[in-house]
């Protein structure tokens, strides 16, 4: 106990001494945070904050010291996180390296994988992206067709991946490929690590109906990946991918909320619909706003319930599907309601006649329609709940 108190005192002192002032303000968007990698240039303060943290392993506090991590206990990591919050500090590094592929390699990777990748993730030198979806597969993820054919000590990849976030800004991709097309579709999939600079890899950004997006399509033509980059066994990649997906869904439930969403909606409602005795003047819209906020409260409380359960050792199960389903739908309702409040002012694409926040509301609404598609459609989540949670029979 006293040791932990010492750790807290030391950590706070260190944080106060080393954090640049600009890192003590909330970021305006996730773009302002550090995602690492060789392809993005970050401001000096951001890089400095990354470097001092990486040197202590504080970018990955619980990972082994030998691989560059902080080597902290869970209790110590909690203290670090609390102290970061107390000082309103930005995380020094975020991204798929820390949240997805790093933990996976620590669990499933070979020693060589760990030695090669973990330290570079900790230092933020390498940014990772995820190559799962394919244009033809959609919700039927396991039907993926990107082929990997063995040729000596390499796999030769042919095919394409879609909906890869930030593929154009990433150095490496963890990718699902088909190494066997003869049996059940889930049984011939392998999990590879691919350097994005390998000849034959081309990346094309995707334009959404809401405008520019982080999504890319990645084309693979005669791409040679060393066999040593295989994680787990050949043809056994599906199980690995599924474990990562469940992890992603839990994160996603929370992700759609923005700071101050409620206030923005109410402010817009007062401005565009007027006030009546201090209240939003239109009682029908007011009723819809209240319904939305009540449902949002229920989801927040449910997420909290899951977190509390996780703390006492309950493993997260299929409730991640609830979070994905409800989180995305609430975001859609919120964006839709914002349009209803703005009326014709929700129709702008750019330029004259619209305020910046009106233009943002419109694009947010358009973008929100993708929420119930990406990361597993709402229909897939309903299937998961029906089959795995409620144990309803197959057709």
């Amino acid at each position: 106990m006293s040791e932990l108190d010492d750790f807290r005192r030391d950590t706070r002192a260190w944080l106060e001494q080393n954090a640049p002032a600009s890192m003590r303000t909330p970021p305006k968007s996730s773009e302002e945070l550090c995602w690492g990698g060789s392809k993005t240039k970050y401001p000096a303060d951001v890089m400095k904050w990354l470097e001092v943290n990486a040197a202590r392993g504080f970018t990955a506090p619980t990972w082994p010291k030998a691989l560059g991590g902080g080597g902290l206990s869970k209790a110590q990591a909690k203290v670090l996180s609390e102290e970061m919050s107390a000082l309103s500090l930005r995380p020094p590094l975020i991204g798929f390296g820390l949240s997805m592929i790093g933990p996976l390699l620590l669990q499933e990777g070979s020693d060589a994988h760990k030695q090669e990748h973990i330290p570079r993730i900790v230092r933020g030198e390498v940014r990772w992206c995820q190559g799962y979806s394919e244009p033809g597969a959609g919700s039927d993820l396991a039907s993926l067709q990107t082929k990997a054919v063995r040729d000596g000590d390499h796999y030769v990849l042919e095919g394409s991946k879609i909906w890869t976030s930030y593929a154009d800004a990433s150095d490496w991709m963890f990718i699902l490929v088909r190494t066997d097309a003869s049996g059940r579709k889930q049984d011939g999939i392998s999990f590879l690590l691919m350097d994005m600079s390998t000849p034959g890899v081309t990346v094309k950004p995707i334009r959404l109906i809401s405008g520019a997006s982080p999504f890319c399509e990645t084309f693979l033509s005669d791409v040679r990946v060393p066999v040593t980059n295989l994680v787990g066994e050949e043809n056994r990649g599906w199980a690995i991918a599924r474990a990562l997906l469940a992890h992603e869904r839990t994160m996603i439930g929370d992700i759609f909320k923005e700071q101050g969403d409620r206030d923005k909606l109410l402010t817009a409602a007062r401005e565009h619909l007027g006030e009546d005795g201090g209240r939003v003047a239109d009682p029908v819209v007011r009723d819809r706003i209240a319904a939305l906020e009540i449902d949002q409260t229920c989801l927040d409380l449910t997420l909290q319930r899951a977190k509390d359960a996780a703390k006492v050792g309950h493993k997260p199960g299929h409730e991640s599907s609830i979070f994905k389903l409800v989180g995305t739908e609430l975001n859609q309702r919120r964006r839709d309601l914002m349009c209803a409040v703005l009326g014709p002012q929700a129709l702008g694409w750019e330029g004259d006649g619209f305020e910046p926040e009106e233009l943002k509301a419109t694009r947010d609404w358009l973008r929100s329609r993708g929420n119930s598609i990406e990361g597993g459609t709402s229909e897939i989540q309903l299937n998961i709940i029906a089959k795995r949670v409620l144990a309803l029979p197959g057709a």
Partner: protein
């Protein structure tokens, strides 16, 4: 139930209870709701225990709390009035000073447990504002007429024709009666939402079982994807409702500092009202013809759902209240 200690969960040990709090009572109310058991736990063990316990009057506490804990007496909250709909202020019943105490005059409707209650908690308008009075159902001038409602429970219309009660029949301090009544109504609303959670779970369980066993076109009807997706939606609603109900009981127990019981009550009641009606309607639909007959229990869930929805404010009322409490 008394033997199991359920009725004393909200009552301090000093007065014969277990003093465990609302989160424990929630478990009981949920199970009663699930079984559609018409037990007066909500009105006695939650509402009356809280109303009398909160008053800080030791004489009242000693008089009533042990009798609640043992189940010796049943209490009912007589608040709603004809035409008044919902809310704390819709009270025309009067409480005038009389020799040695108060004279109560008015008519209360939809008094749940009213036809079996031994004691009544009556809201009435005293010269210094609305207050709660604890009145024996056997007092002179109390007339109880049972109301036959669709859930078949013991509701009543209660007339108070110049009922004389003693001075200390008033709960709480002078001028603060309305605040106490608000707190009591919030607690009643929260407890009712726990019962509603149980009722939706009971109906859903029954329906899920039917989906798995009833065969049509050679397969269980639960294998039809359209029904699967609707069942999944229902499940999601029950989980969201559960979170709201659990949270509200935690707030009642003072766990969440700064949280408002009024807000928590309106969130829970609004959510549970909509969720329960959806689930009750869907349950009958999924049962098909048999669900429409009195031979099957699912219709009883539908009827109880409607009663619970319309008691202490429906979803629209609580959404409006939530907005008012939230300053919009």
């Amino acid at each position: 139930m008394a033997a199991l200690g359920w009725l004393g969960l909200m009552i301090p040990e000093a007065h014969g209870g277990a003093g465990l709090g609302a989160r424990y009572l929630m478990v009981v109310l949920e199970e009663l709701g699930k079984a559609l058991a018409p037990e007066p736990v909500l009105s006695s063990a939650l509402v009356a225990a809280l109303a009398i316990g909160a008053g800080d009057d030791d004489t009242q506490a000693r008089e009533h709390l042990p009798a609640i804990a043992t189940g010796e007496r049943v209490y009912a909250l007589a608040h709603a009035e004809s035409g008044g709909r919902y809310g704390v202020g819709a009270v025309d019943t009067s409480a005038d000073k009389a020799a040695g105490g108060w004279s109560l005059r008015g008519e209360k409707v939809h008094v749940e447990e009213g036809s079996i209650a031994d004691w009544l908690l009556v809201s009435a308008r005293a010269p210094d504002g609305i207050s709660l009075f604890v009145v024996p159902a056997s007092a002179k001038g109390v007339r109880v007429r049972p109301q036959a409602r669709i859930d078949g429970r013991s509701a009543a219309i209660i007339e108070l024709d110049g009922v004389i009660v003693e001075r200390d029949a008033r709960l709480g301090e002078p001028h603060k009666g309305q605040r106490l009544l608000e707190r009591v109504l919030d607690a009643a609303t929260i407890g009712l939402s726990a019962e509603m959670l149980g009722t939706m779970l009971g109906a859903f369980e029954m329906t899920l079982d039917y989906l798995k066993t009833r065969e049509q076109f050679g397969v269980p009807i639960g294998s039809f994807q359209a029904l699967q997706h609707r069942a999944a939606r229902i499940f999601v609603e029950t989980e969201l409702a559960r979170s709201a109900v659990m949270h509200a009981h935690g707030v009642l127990d003072g766990l969440d500092e700064g949280a408002s019981a009024a807000v928590a009550a309106s969130v829970a009641k609004a959510k549970c009202s909509d969720a329960l009606m959806l689930i009750a309607h869907e349950s009958v639909q999924m049962h098909g013809g048999i669900g429409m007959t009195t031979e099957h229990d699912v219709g009883m869930y539908l009827k109880r759902a409607r009663v619970a929805e319309m008691t202490l404010g429906d979803a629209t009322y609580h959404r409006d209240r939530y907005a008012r409490l939230g300053g919009f």
